[in-house]
């Protein structure tokens, strides 16, 4: 028995290929049901996001299982041939598969380090698989652990701290100028995509008053309605600036729209309350000379981008700590997985010995004919003593290796030496509830 993972992600495959294999929420139940019935697969989870399609499964035999799981993956996209898919595919097993899953949940494998969505997506993938009874003892434990590792990484490291997009970088800066954004007013000049995005982030961060100015006033009214903002005629921008704490400039103009005199005037009528001016237009719309005015803080797109680079660097440092967490979390799960194989082997060996013992005693007693109770007892004692003494060392060795990395090897050896296959099957069938507890 082993845990395996097969998939393709943003590093190994282009989006055109990934999206062919993506399993939508509506298709997921059917896909899970099919995966569970797939030959050689005992348990399965499907993790499908825009950056990855990964299958996690528990199989009896590793090499076979990986092959089988690949075959299954190909069926997810009917029009992509195996030859086209193969170079983009990775397959992992055992500790490597577990480590990969933990790294995914910790957002260490994400396109943007520390991005918050993936942990929720892992949780969702597990919940759906659980709901459709595609998971069992092994994946239940491993997926839960992956989610807790993801949470631990988020709380114990700074991997999710500091903005890594231009819009968030602008929000972070605004928070270092204004303690409480909810009382602040934003003036959005121009309604390009970047400008609207940054304005939305500011609204998300609590800003409640937004003014929107655009050369085409009709469109300003239109956008203002959607952002529940106040439209402002373009020729009044300079007057309205006095009431704006944050000016977000993103027009398509190829000259400066706001100059130092405009800002100076605004500052005077604001009694020098600070202003945060963000110029995300290219070419720039705010005269750089504005930046040298007292109490005016001017940031252009390059400034914000370089802040994003710094923050990413920061996250990379934090990712090292996260990798350490993953490193210590994997071995206990691997050991547990190994012990799963050893325990049934011990039980099977014990049972097989008992059944041989019973059989042989009955046979010999039948041959011997009527015996005195004491004689009968002695015969049974003799047989029991021989079996116990013979089994003593192998059982002790198996128990001792249960938690070590050799556990699986010992279990397999014992199974081969004592021919325990049938006994193990009987145990697996007889006690599904006992296994569930794991």
């Amino acid at each position: 028995m082993n845990i395996i993972a097969v998939g393709l992600n943003h590093r190994t495959a282009p989006v055109e290929l990934r999206e062919r294999f993506a399993v939508s929420d509506s298709r997921l139940p059917e896909a899970l049901a099919r995966l569970k019935r797939w030959p050689g697969i005992d348990e399965g989870v499907i993790l499908s996001t825009c950056n990855r399609v990964e299958l996690y499964a528990v199989v009896k035999e590793t090499a076979h299982g990986v092959e089988s799981l690949r075959d299954y993956l190909v069926t997810l996209a009917s029009d992509i041939s195996w030859e086209r898919l193969e170079p983009h595919l990775y397959g992992l097993d055992g500790a490597e598969a577990i480590r990969h899953l933990f790294r995914v949940a910790a957002s260490l494998d994400s396109m943007v380090l520390g991005e918050p969505q993936i942990l929720g997506q892992v949780k969702e993938a597990y919940d759906v698989a659980l709901l459709h009874k595609a998971t069992g003892v092994v994946l239940n434990k491993v997926m839960k652990k992956a989610i807790s590792v993801g949470k631990r990484v988020r709380t114990e490291t700074g991997i999710a701290e500091n903005a890594v997009s231009v819009s968030y970088a602008a929000v972070e800066l605004a928070k270092k100028i204004f303690q409480n954004l909810s009382e602040k007013t934003v003036l959005l000049v121009g309604i390009g995509e970047m400008g609207k995005l940054a304005a939305r982030h500011l609204i998300g961060a609590g800003v409640s008053h937004v003014m929107i100015a655009n050369r085409n006033y009709e469109r300003a009214i239109d956008v203002a309605k959607r952002l529940s903002a106040l439209p402002v005629p373009f020729n009044q921008v300079h007057q309205e600036m006095a009431g704006a704490d944050i000016v977000l400039c993103a027009t398509a103009a190829d000259t400066y729209v706001i100059g130092p005199d405009d800002v100076q005037r605004a500052l005077r009528s604001r009694k020098n309350r600070p202003m945060f001016l963000i110029d995300i237009s290219d070419p720039r719309n705010i005269d750089p000379a504005v930046g040298s005015l007292d109490n005016a803080y001017l940031y252009n797109i390059d400034d914000l981008q370089s802040q994003v680079v710094t923050n990413l660097e920061q996250r990379r440092l934090e990712a090292l700590k996260a990798e350490d967490i993953v490193r210590v979390e994997v071995p206990p799960v691997v050991a547990w997985l190994k012990s799963l194989e050893v325990v049934p082997t011990i039980v099977a060996l014990r049972r097989k010995a008992d059944s041989i013992l019973r059989e042989e005693i009955d046979r010999i007693l039948a041959k011997l004919g009527p015996l005195a109770p004491r004689q009968r007892e002695l015969v049974e004692e003799l047989a029991t003593a021989i079996t116990n003494k013979l089994l003593h060392s192998p059982l002790i060795a198996l128990k001792a290796e249960a938690d070590s990395s050799n556990g699986a090897l010992f279990a397999e050896t014992a199974q081969r030496l004592f021919d325990l296959e049938k006994e193990l099957e009987r145990i697996a069938k007889a006690q599904p509830s006992e296994q569930e507890r794991g």
Binding site: F178, Q179, R268, R270, K271, N272, D294
Partner: protein
């Protein structure tokens, strides 16, 4: 007993200052917890020191420079503890604790004996308390101004790391600065009035134009202008930060003057 408590306090403030400076320079964010606890323990012993000194001396311990500096330090730490509990601005401690420690170690260098209080000085504590609390408020304004100037420099130079991450928002600091001045100014005003009344009572003249009286009046006038400037023409933000940093230098100068020249009733 009060001297023992005083020395224990000094030890804890030293430890607290060290921790807070590590917080300022280092990357370990959680350090504010032990720093806060150490400052809190120091404050507890400081309070014990002041109370036991009052019990031992039989009067409010505000009759010597040593006592004044000790009280100043005590009030500063009290302010920090309250603000930290309310606003969680951990970095404030990195500025306040060193100041409290410097003030306390200066107190330690001065004569510590409890002086018998002449009857004429019985009510001088009113004047001293008010003036000192005013000074504490100006010290807070100074610290807020200093933090403002650092943060403003970080933002202007677009160096968005290190202290930038630890310091609070500009408008919070400007607000703290403004509030501190608005609290400090009336306290200083009352301190000067009670001082003048006391001088009249003790010496027969409100004012005799000695250095520290001129210093006090100069300080008062300066902060009056700063306060009026803020309310009327918008001397806030960077300008206010500069003015309060410079103004506090004047306050310290006056205090040192009082200490050195020894014309004040207590020196």
């Amino acid at each position: 007993m009060n001297v023992l408590f005083f020395e224990v306090t000094l030890l804890f403030y030293f430890l607290g200052t060290t921790l807070f400076l590590v917080q300022l320079a280092g990357r370990w964010e959680g350090i504010w917890k032990p720093s806060f606890v150490v400052a809190g323990i120091g404050f507890f012993f400081h309070t014990l020191a002041l109370v036991s000194r009052m019990v031992e001396g039989g009067h409010i311990p505000l009759t010597s420079m040593h006592e004044a500096l000790s009280f100043f330090s005590w009030a500063l730490v009290l302010f920090f503890l309250v603000v930290e509990l309310r606003y969680r601005v951990h970095i404030l401690g990195s500025f306040i604790l060193p100041m409290a420690f410097i003030s306390l170690i200066s107190a330690a260098a001065l004569p510590k004996e409890i002086r018998a209080l002449e009857p004429i000085f019985r009510n001088v504590w009113m004047h001293v308390t008010l003036s000192l609390l005013g000074t504490v408020a100006f010290a807070v304004a100074f610290i807020a101004g200093l933090m403002y100037l650092i943060q403003e420099h970080m933002l202007k130079s677009k160096h968005l790391d290190g202290l930038y991450r630890k310091l609070p928002a500009l408008d919070f600091l400007d607000d703290l600065n403004g509030k501190a001045i608005s609290f400090g100014f009336p306290l200083l005003t009352l301190g000067i009035i009670t001082g003048a009344l006391f001088a009249e009572f003790a010496r027969g003249s409100f004012l005799n134009w000695n250095a520290e009286q001129i210093g006090a009046l100069g300080t008062w006038l300066f902060y009056l202008i700063v306060l009026l400037g803020r309310v009327t023409v918008g001397w806030r933000a960077k300008k206010a930060a500069y003015l309060t940093v410079v103004g506090f230098a004047g306050v310290v100068f006056t205090l040192v003057g009082v200490m050195l020249k020894g014309q004040h009733p207590f020196a």
